[in-house]
């Protein structure tokens, strides 16, 4: 089994879990799902520079080179993802306070059914 297969299926699995969570009715689960999808996307960007082992991302080194650009992109994506996740948590908390429940549509009875099903 190649490393590419492992990474690819890992990304696929995390995205699947993330999408499942994003489709839930509670904003907490949705935020978790968003974070998971964000992680998977970050690994995806990283692997788009191809997977190298023992290769520094520095031009001019007398060795095999890894592509430095996706690594720079992924840093930006991580920072932005972190900020937006923080914001969405705050927004969800605020909605929970003002609306009285953390159902994404603000409907209590639907939320109660959801909780009862668990």
């Amino acid at each position: 089994m190649s490393i590419e297969f492992l990474v690819a299926s890992g990304i696929g699995w995390v995205v699947a879990v993330g999408v499942y969570l994003m489709l839930r009715g509670r904003s907490f689960a949705v935020v978790l799902g968003l974070s998971l999808v964000g992680y998977a996307v970050n690994v995806f960007i990283f692997s788009m520079g191809r997977l190298w082992s023992a290769a520094p991302p520095i031009l001019g080194a007398k060795e095999l080179l890894a592509d430095p650009l996706p690594q720079a992109l992924v840093l930006t994506a991580i920072v932005i993802g972190f900020a937006t996740t923080g914001f969405v948590i705050e927004l969800a908390l605020r909605g929970h306070h003002d609306g009285g429940n953390d159902h994404v549509d603000g409907r209590d009875e639907a939320g109660a059914q959801d909780a009862g099903a668990r």
Binding site: M22, L34, I45, M48, L73, T84, V88, L91, G106
Partner: protein, 544 residues
């Protein structure tokens, strides 16, 4: 003066961001009745308005330069183009900058009439929003487009919830989550494209995508599809447009009016990526999304106008009209011809101004109708039926496309441009019937708002009709009338802009290397290390 001239392309981004920082330092007014806080608010208003006005002058200057010059590239930190961050101002970009400022100035003036006191840091966030919008319009790089998208989205999340309230928070949460999901798709599309071409610079992409063949071309096209989903979401393209009416109707009026330009960011990105990079000369990937974009755009128009007919509040009606107008612009984009693109630009400028004006007008009318607010049901008589009625008539006629207003000119240009196209019948039928139904929808709303007066209720008060608020609304509508008066020069400009957009060679020469018009890069790596710098290949041998 020379210094300013040399750095002109970066100023639309720098100016709002510096203003926003200063506004943050000035601090919040905190509490509406505190005397000290009020002075802070006054200063914040003056500073923000002055900054947006200077921004308007800069944008006008850039348009004037773009009109008679070529593509202007600005390399941040003098890093050569495909590696560093490049800002590019061409005719389309300059036009979008000007449009943003033209919407922002009256909207900010309107917001200074009282809305900015309903929450915290309105002016600072507004400036950050402008920074994101301007940045998205001047960037010459797909990843920076993502970054500026995020900047404008984060600002819009806060503006969306401005004024608070349970509905705004709930709809705001939907808006944020949907946009974050779209951002994830954006990143996947961008990195796929990078993996196949080794570049994210739009000029470089336009040169490299045509070289892709076979499986590589297929992967690049799948990236194009992903990006279409993202940009289509921002622009409210058909299956992804249902979030827009709820969001825009929940936002307060000046914010909704500013958001009128946000859907156009999506349209602009589709223009750049799918119109040019995956456009006519893209080799195996040419017209990658045309087969789907055109029917979806037609469907968006129809859905938008049907929603407008069914709307039960004025704000929702205007929000649905936004969807309809975006559909019409996207029809022009997906016709892939110079004439159609020119028509699209003209119509986009007009519809943005009209929709923004209508959002403000809807609130002015609602404020005078007592408890009924903007619900379309009989209510108390308006205090100023003549003034608001004339404004409404003007906006409605322009939105529906009645001569001599610019909506008519834009639609006429679009109909002419589609005349040799295989989808001509569908385009004509859709554009004409959408125009007619828009008129019906607005006439229905207008007759209820102005004529279905309940005599048992006391007549409306002058609430919310200070000269400032009415003046800001009039300014937006006056801008659309001016578009009609100056139709010929604007039309010449948009025709040139469309031509310039199609000339990917000239764009690449301006952005990349002035002599070669071609970037040097070692990427993309193929896995067998042959392309990278000397030494790497032998090192790979040694590792085995």
């Amino acid at each position: 003066m020379n210094w300013i001239d040399a750095h002109l392309p970066v100023l639309p981004v720098l100016l709002p961001s510096i203003t926003a920082i200063v506004l943050l330092l000035i601090g919040d007014h905190g509490g509406e009745d505190a005397a000290h806080g009020h002075r802070k608010l006054l200063w914040a208003r003056r500073l923000a308005l002055a900054s947006v006005f200077v921004g308007l002058l800069i944008a006008a200057r850039l348009v004037a330069e773009a009109a008679d010059g070529g593509v202007r590239a600005y390399l941040l930190g003098e890093w050569p183009a495909p590696f560093g961050i490049a800002l590019v101002v061409d005719r389309l970009g300059a036009l979008m900058l000007l449009l943003t400022s033209l919407v922002a100035l009256p909207v900010l003036w309107y917001a200074s009439g009282g809305w900015d006191a309903h929450g915290r840091y309105f002016h600072a966030i507004f400036q950050f929003q402008l920074m994101g919008l301007n940045g998205a319009f001047v960037t010459g790089d797909l990843f920076n487009l993502f970054v500026f998208f995020e900047v404008l989205l984060i600002a819009s999340y806060v503006l969306m919830a401005h004024g608070q309230g349970v509905v705004r928070l709930r709809v705001g949460l939907h808006y944020v989550v949907l946009n974050l999901a779209a951002s994830a798709l954006f990143l996947i599309g961008v990195s796929l494209l990078y993996a196949k071409t080794g570049t994210l610079n739009l000029a470089d992409l336009a040169l490299r995508v045509p070289e892709l063949k076979g499986a590589d071309a297929t992967l690049a096209q799948s990236a194009a599809w992903l990006l279409l989903v993202v940009f289509g979401f921002k622009a409210a393209l058909l299956p992804l447009s249902l979030w827009l009416p709820a969001t825009y109707a929940a936002a307060c009026a000046p914010v909704a009016a500013l958001f009128a330009i946000m859907t156009k960011v999506g349209v602009y990105a589709i223009w750049r990526v799918h119109g040019v990079v995956f456009g006519a000369d893209a080799g195996a990937s040419a017209y990658a999304v045309e087969s789907v974009l055109l029917p979806l755009a037609l469907g968006t128009s129809i859905l938008g106008v049907l929603g407008a007919l069914a709307a039960h509040t004025m704000e929702r009606l205007v929000a649905w009209l936004t969807v309809a107008s975006v559909g019409t612009v996207l029809v022009a984009v997906s016709l892939f011809s110079t004439a159609a693109w020119s028509a699209g630009m003209y119509y986009m400028a007009n519809s943005t101004l009209v929709v923004a004006g209508l959002f403000l007008l809807a609130e002015l009318v609602a404020a005078q109708r007592g408890d009924a607010a903007d619900r379309l049901e009989p209510a108390a008589a308006l205090a100023q039926p003549a003034l608001l009625g004339v404004l409404m008539l003007l906006a409605a006629a322009s939105a529906a496309g009645l001569p001599p207003l610019p909506g008519f000119i834009g639609k006429l240009m679009l109909l002419e441009a589609s005349s040799a196209h295989t989808w001509q019948v569908a385009v004509w039928a859709t554009v004409l019937s959408v125009g007619f139904l828009t008129l019906v929808g607005l006439a229905r709303a207008g007759s209820i708002l102005f004529w279905h007066v309940r005599d048992d209720l006391p007549a409306g008060s002058y609430a919310g009709s200070s000269p400032k608020l009415v003046g800001a609304t009039m300014l937006l509508l006056a801008a659309t009338v001016a578009m009609s008066i100056f139709a010929a020069p604007i039309q010449r400009y948009t025709a040139d802009a469309a031509q310039q957009l199609e000339d990917r060679g000239a764009y690449a020469r301006a952005v990349l290397d002035t002599q070669a018009g071609r970037s040097e890069t070692t990427r993309p790596y193929t896995g067998t290390v042959t392309a990278p710098p000397a030494g790497a290949a032998s090192a790979a041998e040694a590792l085995r």
